[in-house]
């Protein structure tokens, strides 16, 4: 019974936050709705005994990624409300909503039409840790698998993160004055935002 209540509340928060993201005209409000969705998903992770992922979800997603979003929103000064009424492409919205309904409909039919939705072999590695009386904790279990079976993928993520850091620095830095002449001295780089926040980014 408690699990059902947790699922219903967390599911409502997840879907409400998701609607908030796509319906809010102000990007800051959309980002805050995204936090609600991420927290709801973290609660659902805990409900499914994925404690490590719930912690990572809160720390990395709600803590780092959303803050990065808010940082960029403030940096660019796009925190004013967007005109949602204007529709530059005719019929874009009806077609998009139709596509979403069709997508949701097909996935729900695929999920609910069959008798048992989840088919496949049970893991040969042994059960995942559940509840209080588990012999091994969830974090322990993930750590063991991550550093044995998935160690190559784990190392590759280190390379990926390094590439991402270097790429973001290269993309976001301000051009120096000697490099600016190569781009062309058309004054486009002297936008109001090019001076002060550019220093902060660099």
């Amino acid at each position: 019974m408690v699990e059902l209540i947790v699922f219903l509340i967390a599911g409502t928060i997840v879907l409400g936050g998701a609607f908030g993201v796509i319906l809010n005209s102000n990007p800051v409000h959309a980002a805050l709705s995204l936090v609600a969705t991420l927290f709801g998903v973290a609660v659902l992770f805990i409900a499914q005994d994925a404690h490590f992922l719930a912690a990572i979800q809160v720390i990395v997603y709600a803590g780092a990624i959303v803050v990065l979003f808010l940082f960029v929103i403030m940096l660019l000064g796009v925190d004013q409300a967007e005109q949602l009424e204007v529709e530059p492409l005719t019929a874009q919205r009806p077609v998009a909503i139709l596509a979403g309904v069709v997508l949701a409909g097909f996935t729900l039919v695929a999920l609910l039409a069959g008798g048992s939705t989840i088919t496949g072999q049970k893991s040969v590695r042994g059960d995942i840790a559940r509840g209080e009386d588990a012999v091994i904790t969830n974090v322990d279990q993930i750590g063991r698998v991550l550093f044995t079976d998935y160690v190559l993928a784990f190392e590759i993520t280190a390379v990926l993160l390094t590439i991402a850091v270097v790429g973001s620095v290269v993309l976001a830095r301000k051009l120096h004055s000697n490099e600016r002449s190569l781009v062309g001295d058309d004054g486009e780089t002297t936008t109001p935002f090019a001076d002060e926040p550019g220093e902060a980014v660099r």
């Binding site: 599911g11 997840v14 879907l15 993201v21 796509i22 990007p27 959309a30 980002a31 995204l34 969705t37 991420l38 998903v41 992770f45 499914q48 005994d49 994925a50 490590f52 992922l53 990572i56 990395v60 997603y61 990624i65 990065l68 979003f69 960029v72 660019l76 796009v78 967007e82 530059p88 874009q92 596509a99 979403g100 309904v101 997508l103 949701a104 996935t107 729900l108 999920l111 939705t117 989840i118 496949g120 049970k122 893991s123 059960d127 995942i128 698998v145 991550l146 079976d149 993928a153 993520t157 993160l161 991402a164 973001s168 620095v169 993309l171 976001a172 780089t189 936008t191 935002f193 550019g198």
Partner: protein, 101 residues
């Protein structure tokens, strides 16, 4: 009555559809990015549900990698948005067409 795995999968499907609609409808590149995060979260929820249903910890490890890739993607994507917005303040998704040489 406890929620079964199907409930989680249905919720994840709805979340994915909402994210997809938002990606198609919204024109602000930042909000489009947030919709991509919604879709990634829906997939993560699906992975965790399958990990729980099949008793396989591999599903949770995959979610860990999805989180890392999502973080890297957001960092690079936001850097691109900053670069575009600095040249053309108030740019929408359509204005990225200006980038073509």
């Amino acid at each position: 009555m406890a929620p079964t795995d199907t409930w989680y999968l249905v919720l994840a499907a709805l979340l994915f559809a909402i994210g997809a609609v938002g990606l198609l409808v919204r024109r602000n590149p930042l909000v489009m990015f947030m919709c991509i995060e919604l879709m990634l979260n829906a997939v993560n929820l699906t992975f965790v549900s399958f990990a729980s249903a099949l008793d396989d910890i591999g599903g949770q490890v995959v979610v860990f990698f999805v989180l890392v890739v999502a973080a890297a993607e957001v960092v690079v994507g936001l850097a691109i948005i900053v670069a575009v917005m600095r040249r053309q303040p108030g740019a929408t998704a359509d204005d990225v067409a200006v980038l073509r040489g």
